[in-house]
């Protein structure tokens, strides 16, 4: 119990953010027309590329060769997620635009 309350108090802001973000995510997406499901999925896919920030932090404090290699890899993969995600989404949406 002590551990739980310790955990809760220590992370209460994060828990707040998590709960509110869950509602926000549901609210933001629930009125999307099926036509945009694929680009939306792809755009969301790019956004979870924020994981790259964690990769940069880890890499920025890596001290051994092993962790350097893994960190480097993490940054590369994270960048792939971000850049690939946004560019693919843009490519899909570009096609929606050029009607008329």
């Amino acid at each position: 119990m002590e551990q739980f309350s310790d955990f809760f108090l220590q992370h209460r802001e994060a828990i707040f953010i998590v709960i509110l973000s869950i509602f926000l995510g549901i609210e933001v997406i629930s009125h999307v027309p099926a036509i945009l499901h694929t680009p939306l999925m792809s755009g969301a896919n790019a956004i979870h590329g924020v994981v790259i920030i964690g990769a940069i932090i880890v890499m920025g404090h890596a001290d051994t060769t092993g962790s350097m290699v893994l960190g480097f890899l993490a940054v590369v993969l994270g960048t792939l997620n971000v850049v690939g995600g946004f560019v693919v989404t843009d490519r899909m949406l570009e096609m929606f635009k050029k009607k008329k």
């Binding site: 755009g43 969301a44 790019a46 956004i47 994981v51 993490a74 940054v75 993969l77 994270g78």
Partner: protein, 478 residues
């Protein structure tokens, strides 16, 4: 350690940038759900990401220490950018679903790597104070497990959609999967209840956990096939979001937290919307009872009737109302452009042409929209199946191009069919039905389609692109 405080407001700027980035993510996602604003929304979110990355490199401090290894970090970003950009630009539109799955896997892998590297560095003071059972360790372990599952699963999904990996369905598989999941959770409990001074003593368990998570990710996606593939990608997408959010917990980083959870919850809702479009529960999808033969009535009743190209051309030219139902076959054959040519030709002749878009036609929700948009088919001509169904009895000709399960009447008639209850395009309500198909193969869900034996149905066998090409020239020659 002396702290080089070259810029005292760095942390403030960093945190403000994270707030801006989070807001841009939310606004971007919101704009992405509207056709007119979608593209700007995506770019806005990308800017948010860019700001967050730059600010992190410049201003992030861990115990007062700035980010090091900056040349290497920039090199890694450069490599990732070039590869990501090239892949994203070069891949064909039909391969979009695979691509999303691939990039999703990359994010999952990055999350897993972060967890692996952070685990040995859990501060000994924290362990001395509250043991291994603390939020920090939990976030690391969950990040590792979810990230790895997402990575392995996405790679399998990628391989399957790309046609490199087949389905693997074994009856007992779901029990194996549940058992592995229990083992993984057991690992988390075990690691968190160990009595150690330093977390690095437990590294062997982390490697083991990584290995088992890979196996779980593979087995989790392996049996899933058919129309369920998009659902799985969407689900894995939200997994990666949650894994990224675990990183946010770890570093007390609000941008990662909001971004990750936002995608986690939005992805889950999207997954549920897709399941609803197929009238299936998420549990069903995951446990994988779809397809695989089953008891669905296999007896073939009636006969297949073919139609010649010239008959089809005449039938179409003298119709008032034509509805096209595109499916994966259209995508594979890359026939979207010639299809649009057909509809333009018919419209010139005064025929009203509409497209009936089933939400899960193709391999991804909205797959058909993307494909037809590429061919410049006007947005207004694409009608969702629910909306067009009441109109179908007044439709003279309905053309099914490479679609199968989404027009299968078994969804309405046959309670024993695995797709029973799934909303469909009610193709058989139309006055005439032309089905373009490569052969008499079954749909992705591997079930018989009685529509093909319907009295009103005529078949046009062949590759969709060739058939459409021939049809177009036939109509021009009339």
């Amino acid at each position: 350690m002396t702290v080089p405080t070259q810029f005292p407001y760095g942390i403030t700027i960093l945190e403000i940038t994270y707030i801006v980035a989070s807001v841009l993510f939310v606004i971007g996602l919101k704009m992405l759900s509207h056709p007119l604003t979608a593209r700007r929304g995506n770019i806005l979110a990308a800017f948010g990401m860019g700001f967050a990355i730059i600010a992190t490199i410049l201003f992030h401090r861990k115990d007062g220490e700035p980010i090091g290894n900056i040349p290497l970090i920039l090199a890694a970003i450069a490599i990732g950018t070039v590869i990501g950009w090239v892949i994203a630009k070069k891949v064909k539109m039909t391969a979009m679903p695979q691509l999303v799955s691939f990039f999703n896997g990359m994010g999952g892998a990055a999350a897993a790597l972060i967890s692996m590297m952070e685990f040995p560095h859990v501060s000994p003071e924290l362990i001395a104070r509250s043991g291994m059972a603390n939020g920090h360790v939990l976030a690391i372990l969950l990040g590792l497990m979810i990230g790895t599952v997402s990575w392995a699963g996405s790679m399998i999904a990628f391989g399957k959609l790309d046609g490199r990996i087949g389905d693997l369905r074994v009856k007992s598989m779901k029990y194996v999967n549940i058992a592995i999941l229990v083992i993984l959770l057991g690992f988390i409990v075990y690691i968190m209840t160990r009595n150690v001074q330093e977390s690095r003593e437990l590294m062997p368990f982390i490697y083991l956990m990584f290995g088992i998570s890979v196996i779980y990710g593979v087995l989790f996606v392996m049996p899933i096939g058919g129309a369920d593939m998009p659902v799985v990608i969407s689900l894995l997408n939200s997994f990666t979001g949650v894994a990224a959010a675990m990183g946010g917990f770890l570093y007390n980083n609000q941008a990662m937290l909001t971004g990750g959870i936002l995608v986690g919850s939005a992805g889950t809702i999207l997954t549920i919307l897709m399941c609803r479009a197929m009238n299936r529960s998420l549990i069903n999808v995951i446990v994988g009872v779809f397809g695989g033969g089953g008891s669905a009535a296999a007896s073939e009743v009636g006969t297949i009737k073919e139609i010649t190209l010239s008959d089809a051309a005449i039938l179409l030219s003298y119709s008032k109302k034509v509805v096209i139902v595109p499916g994966y076959g259209l995508a594979v054959a890359q026939a979207q452009h010639i299809c649009h040519e057909l509809d333009k030709l018919l419209e010139e002749k005064g025929v009203e042409v509409k497209y009936a878009i089933h939400p899960v036609a193709g391999r991804m929700p909205g797959h058909m929209n993307v494909l037809l948009a590429e061919a410049d088919v006007p947005y207004e001509q694409l009608i969702e199946s629910d909306e067009i169904n009441p109109d179908l009895p007044n439709t003279d000709v309905l053309i099914v191009i490479g679609a199968n399960d989404v027009v299968n009447p078994a969804a309405e008639d046959d309670p024993s069919s695995p797709i029973y209850g799934m909303p469909i395009v009610k193709a058989r309500d139309a006055r005439n039905i032309i089905v373009m198909k490569r052969g008499m193969g079954k749909g992705y869900a591997a079930i018989e389609n009685m529509l093909f034996y319907n009295d009103k149905t005529r078949m046009l066998f062949g590759d969709a692109k060739n058939t459409l090409q021939n049809l177009v020239s036939e109509i021009k020659n009339l």
